[in-house]
Structures are given as structure tokens and as C-alpha cells.
Symmetry: C2
């Protein structure tokens, strides 16, 4: 068990921005919610599954929508406790802990605010350890754990509870509801027991996020050797350094899609293309895959090492493109069909980090 | 209380086709469901509110989608008992009766099949006594009764329960769910007490539908004086007799929309335009409104007096266009904003039947 301090919170925000791989909503907005909740209701405990009753109910909470919209329409709050309470009431059972579904982006932090308000601990696990744009893209889907029953709510009092035949249909129905409800809503899905979290979840993701953020913070402060230490901790690598020379972004079907083109800093004949679907998903050079989902692509400001989200990408920015290997729990049968390049419509193979030729 | 016989059922199917005003789904498909349910579970009682506990829970059931799709994808059945059971379970209460929300089209009959299976009576009331394309278009909305909580289900096991801030949002969310679930689904909304049905519902609509069908049946058999008797009972009037010379139909945003143009039988200088949004909504001559929603527009085959649904309208058909006044319960404050011509985007006044100049 660890008590989350305000210092931890700052590290977590930076780590979450990095793990957002350009998407997942801006954690700095969610940070305000968490601070407010901590002031109103007290600090939050981060616990491991072994500290809880194995049969206890774990409920998740997240924001669902398009990052571009979420950043403009700051979540109000009641929709998040709202979805958790709606699902608990539907299940006729109280949760023993709150879990992030997505440690990456804003959804890393929202569970903390809800947990503070409900007086519950947050479980140190998740289902992605990065951001992904669709509900079914979790290690829980690989483990056969259903996303439904799930609840969706807005800040005005519209609440929906869904029972769906599979996690793809859960995504489809939630997405169409969200398109009606303004593209920035609360969702609670993948309710499960503590035992299921222990068996099927990605363990320690909240702690990992804090540690990652702490090390990136040292880089930003310019501490000696800190970049190497950061890359080593994350098993990360700088793949490309250059300047953004083209940028195409659009919001379609409830997703922020686009492509960013980066020209190499020293060799103008080299360019990297990074494809966006809410998150940065594929990085290619000359059509050859360099970093591929589910491994993480992060674009850092060349000067200050700040992760740049897809909304703040801009023409002329000088950047480092780094790759981080995905959580080891992802490497199991079914991964590529669910979250590999082809799952997003890119006709190219997955190149596991370290294996690129 | 009346026990619904198979003869009643045939009359009801014909009456429901007429009250469908061209839409509402084909009652002949639903008739198969009702016959099957009656064979499996026994006949159904039609009761008035006064025969039930005033505090008893009444649940509605209907098909929601596009008539063009519903006719091709015959409803399977489990989605209808499914939505009723889901809503009862959500409310934590068992219903004492089932109510049609829409006596007009297929939705007149589906409650009978569900009532037979659940061993419940059907209440002799509804909220439209015609078909309308949207959930909020009911006398219950005028009475301030919320459509939510409501449930939507498909035949595969996808079920959703909604709490919405108003009936317009209920329509929006249900419609977007239905567009994902294949455009032919079960819905249960406007749960209420027997007392509320007695106070705010349109009374006697099921009996009215049977009696209307019985009289139209006599017309179809060619009985002497039967057309006059039918028109008198329905307070109806033949407004136009002619031949369909143009027809434009399309399915957009989950609705079947279109326009039918009819040339007068004896005066080729006269044409009538009838506008469709699932149902026949507006009949005009030279841009002048002749019959307007919420009054009913019915197109009958000129030879055999069979009501023609919007799906079976065809070039060259010879038809009578008749108007029926809407149920008197509609005439209350808010009617025109909710179901008048402007509510459907037609910039013309409502012309109450009998008042056209």
C-alpha cells in the first residue's frame, strides 16, 4: 500500500502524459480534479490485489470520447462517480476498489478522483499500461473478461447501462452513445473480482507510471545522466530526431485521426511518418514500420523533453520520437489481432521493439 | 375485460395497418408472433385501467427501427420479452400489465405476444393511437411523464438501460443505439403506474383499433353501405382519389423518408403531395396543407380498400387518400410543438380536420 502524495501526483501526471502516447486526454486537466477531490475527501491509497478480499468487486472508471473535445469541454465530475454508482447499483454490490482501465493519459488520474470521493483505494493495475482508443483493446479481452455490463454517463444526468454480447459490440454501442452525449463522458466497464485483476491485469501500472514520470522529470530538470537513466528504466530508445514538416488532423467517427511527418534533423532525405488514431500508433520510414502498436510511440519536445500530445503537435516543432516496449502482459495469443497494426487498418507487420531491421 | 379472439386479431391487424398511417412496421409480420404466442401461452386479456391496482406498474413494449428494415429482418421475439424483463429488473418491480405505446402498425400487436408469454393482461390504452416515428411523440410527453428509464435490446442478447434527462434525449440515445444494433430492436419506455395510464393515456385504443378494422373489413368484403359506415365511425373523409405518378423514398438517419405524388383521377391539373417520415405526415395540394400531422393520412387501394404502407407504395397505383382526426387526447397545450407539421420540419400550419378551407 502506498499513500499518493502531491509530489507523486506530479510525477504521475508526467508519466501518464508519456504513456498516453500522444492521446488519452490531457492529464493536466484531470490533475485539477484529483487535487480538488483530495482536498475535499482526503488522500488516496494505492493497493495491490493481495491487500484486498479476492472476491471483492473492482469497478473501473474512465473518460470516453475524443481527446480534442475532452480538452475543450473539461469533465465536470458527477459523470464519473455517476457511472460507478450506476454500475454498482445495477450489479447490486458495492466495490472494494477502483481500477484504472487505461494507465496512460487522463484516464490514469480520473480513478483517483472517484476513489477519493467514494473513500475507496485504487488498485495498482490496469488493462493497457498505455492509451488505446477502443474499449475492447485490453488484456482483459484477451483473458475473455467481458467489458459489459458497463455504464456510460454525461454530466447532465443521462446514464446508460449496457449488457453486450462481446467487447467489440460494447465499443460500438458506447461509442455511438458518446457521439450523442457530446464526446466527453464517463464510462465504467470490465467490472470484475480482485482475483481476476490479479490473474489477468497488468500489475503495478500505477507505480510504474509514477516512477516513469519521476525519471522524465529529472530529464526535464537537466540532471546529469538522467536521459540515459530514463531510457534504461523504460527500456526505451530514441528512434528519430527531427522537425515536424507536415501535419494532418481531423475528427471523424468520434476519433481524432491524422498523420504527422517529421524531417530528420541532420539528413533531409530521411522522413518519419507517424499515424494517429487518438494515439500515435505507427511510425514508419520509407514505408517501413519502425515502431508499431502495441509498443508505445512518444513524441518528446527536443529541447525540454515534454511529451507532445496529438492536439499540441504543431508545424515546425523539433522533436525526438522514442519507442517504449508495451507491458509484457500484452505478449500472449490474440494480441496482434486485437491491438496490432492490422487491428487499426494498417497493412504492415508488428515489429517488436529491438527486432526492427 | 375482453378476451382477444383470433377473429379480433384479424380485425386488429387491419385496424393497426390503417392507424399506422403508412408506417409503424407491417402488422402482418407481428400477427405471426401473436398467433404463435397465443398457441404457446394462451389468449390475452384486454383490460381497462379501472380493472387494475392503481399503483401497479405498467410496462410498454415496442419495436424501434426503420420499417423498411423491420419488414426484411422479421423480429425474432426474445428482444421483446428481453426489454420488458430488463426494465422490470432495473426497477426492481414486476409489472401488472403490458401497454402498447403506439396503437398503429406493428407496435399494436407486439405487446400482445409479450403479454401472452408473461401471462399478463394488455391495458386498453396507448400514447398515440396512430404511429409516430419518434419516442418523445406521445401524449405522455405532454403530461410530463418521462420516457426513461427505458431499455433497448436486440435478438442476440445486447441489452441497454437508459436514464435520460428528457424524452428528446431518450429518442436521440435510443436511435443511435438502434442504428448500431441493426435498425429493428425491442424497446420498453414510459414505465408508469396504472393511475398514470388512466390520467394521461389515450383510453380504449386497442378496442378502437379492433372496431375500426372490423368496419374496414366489411368495406373490403364489399358489404352495402360499409364505406359510409366506416367513414362515419372513424369520422374520416376521402380527400383525394388518383394515381401515383412519382415516388421518392430513401432511408436516412435511421428513418424512411420520401415523397409520393398523386395525380387526380379525373382532373389531371390537380396533384397531391404526401410527405413521408416513416409515416405519412403531410398531404398538400398546390403547396396548401390539406391533411396535417397529428391527424392521420391513410392511402387506401382504390379497388380493395387495403391500406398501403410506405414500403409497398408503387408507381401507377390507384388510391384514395383519406384523413382521420387524431385521438381527442392529443388536443392539449404543447401538441403542435411536439407533433405538428413544424415538429417534422414542414413550414406550414396544422389544419385541424374539418377546418381546411
Amino acid at each position: 500500500m502506498r499513500e499518493l502524495t502531491l509530489d507523486d501526483l506530479d510525477d504521475m501526471v508526467l508519466g501518464a502524459t508519456l504513456l498516453g502516447t500522444g492521446g488519452g486526454g490531457d492529464p493536466y486537466i484531470a490533475r485539477l480534479m484529483v487535487r480538488q477531490a483530495m482536498e475535499d475527501f482526503g488522500t488516496v491509497k494505492i493497493v495491490t490485489p493481495s491487500e484486498l478480499d479476492p472476491d471483492g468487486l473492482v469497478l473501473t472508471v474512465a473518460v470516453i470520447g475524443a481527446p480534442t473535445v475532452i480538452s475543450e469541454k473539461v469533465p465536470a465530475g458527477p459523470e464519473f462517480t455517476g457511472v460507478v454508482n450506476a454500475l454498482a447499483s445495477y450489479l447490486g454490490k458495492k466495490p472494494v476498489a477502483i481500477m484504472p482501465i487505461e494507465v496512460g493519459g487522463m484516464n490514469t488520474l480520473i480513478p483517483l478522483a472517484v476513489a477519493a470521493e467514494l473513500g475507496l483505494p485504487v488498485i495498482d493495475a490496469d488493462s493497457m499500461r498505455r492509451a488505446f482508443p477502443q474499449i475492447e483493446m485490453t488484456v482483459f479481452t484477451l483473458a475473455g473478461i467481458p467489458a459489459s455490463p458497463m455504464s456510460v454517463a454525461d454530466e447532465k444526468g443521462n446514464v446508460m447501462v449496457f449488457e453486450t454480447t462481446d467487447n467489440q459490440m460494447a465499443e460500438k454501442l458506447a461509442r455511438s452513445a458518446v457521439m450523442q452525449l457530446g464526446l466527453a463522458n464517463g464510462i465504467s466497464c470490465y467490472s470484475m473480482t480482485v482475483r481476476q485483476v490479479a490473474e489477468a491485469g497488468i500489475q503495478g501500472s500505477m507505480s510504474y507510471c509514477v516512477e516513469l514520470g519521476k525519471r522524465l522529470m529529472a530529464v526535464q530538470r537537466g540532471e546529469a545522466g538522467s536521459f540515459d537513466e530514463f531510457l534504461k528504466f523504460a527500456e526505451a530508445k530514441i528512434y528519430f530526431s527531427g522537425k515536424i514538416i507536415d501535419l494532418d488532423r481531423r475528427t471523424t467517427d468520434g476519433f481524432a485521426k491524422g498523420t504527422v511527418v517529421i524531417e530528420h534533423m541532420t539528413d533531409p532525405n530521411r522522413t518519419m511518418h507517424v499515424e494517429i488514431q487518438n494515439e500515435l500508433l505507427i511510425a514508419t520510414e520509407d514505408g517501413k514500420p519502425i515502431i508499431t502498436t502495441p509498443d508505445l510511440i512518444c513524441i518528446l519536445d527536443y529541447e525540454n523533453a515534454q511529451p507532445i500530445t496529438t492536439e499540441t503537435l504543431a508545424y515546425g516543432q523539433r522533436v525526438n520520437v522514442i519507442g517504449l516496449p508495451c507491458a509484457p502482459e500484452w505478449h500472449q495469443p490474440g494480441m496482434l489481432e486485437l491491438v496490432g497494426p492490422k487491428a487499426f487498418g494498417y497493412d504492415m507487420p508488428y515489429v517488436r521493439m529491438g527486432e526492427a531491421k
